[in-house]
Amino acid sequence: MVRLLNVLAIAALVSSAIYAYSIKYETIFRGEQIVRLHQQIKSEQDSIAMLKAEWEHVSRPERIEALADQFLNLQQPALKQIVPITALPDKPDARLAAQSIAPPPAKGADGKPDAPSQDEDSNTPRNPHLAGDETTPN
């Protein structure tokens, strides 16, 4: 009886030691992982901050204005072009609406505007992607 108890105690000791060690190594492993992830997060945050600063730098109004002057064939918006939503004409009735909506898919299903070559002034070099952009040069 006593011998059995001893054996059991030794078995319990060994298994608890193994368990404790496995927990310990798991903890160390997790700890290292946490540190690594923290470092990763930090470096990601740093690069996000860097990219934000860079984005802000490349999208600064000064540069956009210069690019717009160079590549867009648009002029400064006049105040007359700005109207409140109430000043818009009434919605045409459904039949008319269907007619007016129908033509565009025939030109291009993707909804992109026509190529600039169809415009009256094809002599100015223009970026076809920017040409149809609604962005105002401001």
């Binding site: 860097m50 934000k52 600063a53 860079e54 802000e56 600064r60 000064e62 105040l79 700005i82 401001n138």
Partner: protein
């Protein structure tokens, strides 16, 4: 056992009166190895002595090991919060850069290190680097903020005593736009001017000094009142205007009259906060808050408001402007002399010096002084910007001073101060201190004092609108925005007397005049007359034109909806008093 102890005691001779158990603890059984044991004991004792000695030595000289890190965390550029515009665009932020430092004591071959480092950084001065590496300091910077490639090259050199450290570098993505508001921070992350200095004053510096290792993510960004797009537009139009009219310098701003927020501000020439080598050049001061100037005729708005508010005149009063006003040997002339009685609106639209002086005299010196003090024109205006200037107030303020100050001569104030006062004149009569931080109207008006009656404020709006329709502010009357404005042209004092050929022109405009939201301001230093302006250099021809362009360009950016039908009843209080549309400006009469 007992005998052994006795013998041992005899040999070593410990005091006999010591407790026996203590003795037993320290006695060894004598055998053949006693000598050897003694030797080993001695050996261990020596080792412990050495360790103890070293500990004492390190304890007495703690800086030896920690010095490097201590110095580094003192000098490394601290994190600063981002500065954002009112819509969230970044005006200033931190980026991480690597800096290279050296621990001179640990460098083995200095000449070799200097050779290699100067090969990688050609801009490093050899002699200066040698001096730094020869210093007795534990820590010196070799080069701040290096590129990743340079970092890699230095890393591959594998020089002992050379290390890398992550640092924060302050960047201003928009360059000189809003430079005067932002100020700048130096390479150690300490705010030197503008809002950067304000941030330090608000407790950031204390936190850093207390040793908190803050990161950029811990700090709440500072949201300013500026609108980046509008600020750029203002600066751009001002720069074009200065170029066109060959002015020496200029300043422009947009103020939200209901919240006191400065929406845009530019003062040219300015500087690039990313490279602020010329930021301290006296020509590049912030003309809006650091420069004090005679505001010229724009000050007449204050004089007219004062006379109306005191009830000394009404809009129908007639002011004698038949001939120049003499006081002692001083004569006040009108630039557009009419030689007749003028009504109050005419005094305003003809910008009559005589009329303004007479109105101020009706109120009297003390009343005038008290009114200007109430309007904040006699004391230094303090905003978040650390840079401010005291107005130049005449020491002995007599009747003559009151007469000249009434039309903007003899009292120098900062333009921002004048903006604050005109803002109060048109926003319904509430004095709101300008701010560079975002806030809402409720917050702004919480403890803002009322300085003039709502009716006076409406009269001022009416006068400024009238001036834009038929008076000197026509050049800024942007169709669709119902602009009101006032010009000001002041001769510049050179060597104590007014120079006839040098002027400073100012222009103030309110948009829209029936319910003002924004106050636009432009100032030009020594603009020249151009052939297309008929040689005129007065404010209407330059500052007025620029303000008009700024309004047309910044208005849509600020979300101001243009209206092409004039408001049905722009001035309801005046209408109640019997000022029918007959004596209101006819819409579109310009």
């Amino acid at each position: 056992m007992e005998t052994d102890i006795e013998k041992d005691e005899d040999v070593n001779g410990p005091p006999r009166n010591a407790a026996p158990w203590l003795l037993r603890l320290f006695t060894l059984k004598r055998d053949k190895g006693t000598r050897r044991i003694k030797l080993i004991t001695l050996g261990f004792a020596l080792i412990y002595c050495v360790i103890a000695g070293k500990l004492i030595y390190l304890g007495l000289h703690p800086e030896l090991r920690q010095e490097v890190h201590q110095n580094a965390s003192d000098t490394v550029a601290a994190a600063r919060p981002d500065i954002l515009d009112r819509n969230g665009a970044i005006l200033a932020t931190d980026i991480k850069v690597t800096s290279i430092f050296a621990e001179p004591r640990r460098i083995i071959d200095r000449d070799d290190a200097i050779d290699h480092l100067t090969a990688i950084f050609p801009d490093l001065d050899r002699r200066e680097l040698r001096d730094r590496l020869n210093s007795r300091k534990g820590f010196v910077w070799v080069k701040r903020a290096v590129t990743p490639e340079q970092r890699q090259e230095v890393y591959h050199l594998g020089l002992p005593g050379i290390g890398f450290m992550q640092e924060n570098k302050r960047v201003y993505p928009n360059g000189p736009v809003a430079a005067h508001v932002l100020g700048y921070a130096n390479i150690d992350g300490i705010g030197i001017s503008g809002l950067e200095k304000y941030i330090d004053g608000e407790g950031l510096a204390d936190l850093h000094d207390a040793g908190f290792n803050l990161t950029n993510e811990d700090l709440r960004p500072l949201v300013t009142s500026l609108d980046l797009d509008a600020t750029y537009a203002v600066r751009d139009e001002l720069a074009k205007g200065i170029d066109k009219f060959k002015a020496k310098a200029g300043a422009a701003a947009i103020l939200d009259v209901n919240t006191g927020e400065v929406i845009a501000m530019a003062s040219l020439p300015d500087f690039d906060p990313n490279n602020p080598v010329d930021a301290l050049d006296p020509d590049r001061i912030n003309r809006m808050s650091v420069g004090v100037y005679e505001m010229g005729s724009t000050f007449k708005a204050l004089s007219v408001a004062m006379a109306l508010d005191c009830g000394k005149v009404t809009l129908n009063s007639q002011i004698d402007a038949r001939e120049s006003l003499r006081y002692g040997n001083f004569t006040i002339h009108d630039f557009h002399a009419q030689h007749r009685f003028l009504t109050v609106p005419e005094v305003f639209t003809y910008s009559s010096n005589i009329g303004a002086a007479r109105m101020a005299l009706m109120v009297g010196v003390d009343g005038h002084k008290a009114f200007l003090a109430k309007m904040g024109q006699l004391t230094r205006l303090r905003t978040e910007l650390p840079e401010s200037a005291e107005p130049l107030v005449p020491k002995h303020w007599g009747e003559l001073n009151t007469m000249t100050i009434a039309f903007g001569q003899g009292l120098n104030v900062a333009p921002l101060q004048a903006l604050m006062a005109v803002g109060a004149l048109v926003n319904g009569g509430i004095m709101i201190k300008p701010t560079f931080l975002k806030r809402d109207e409720e917050d702004a008006k919480k403890d803002a004092p009322r300085v003039i009656k709502p009716q006076t404020s409406e009269s001022l709006r009416y006068l400024m609108r009238l001036n834009a329709e038929i008076g000197s502010a026509r050049k800024a009357d942007v169709d669709g925005y119902f602009v009101g404005g006032k010009t000001g042209t002041a001769d510049i004092i050179v060597h104590g007397r007014y120079a006839k050929d040098k002027v400073r022109t100012t222009f103030m405009a309110i948009v829209p005049a029936d319910k003002p939201k924004y106050l636009f301001f432009t100032m030009l230093d020594e603009p020249q007359g151009l052939p297309e302006t008929g040689g005129y250099r007065t404010a209407a021809w330059n500052a007025g034109v620029i303000t008009g362009k700024i309004i047309a360009r910044a208005g849509p950016l600020l979300g101001l909806a243009p209206r092409f039908t004039p408001p049905a009843e722009p001035f309801p209080l005046l209408a109640q008093l019997g000022y029918t549309p007959a004596n209101l400006p006819a819409p579109g009469s310009h």
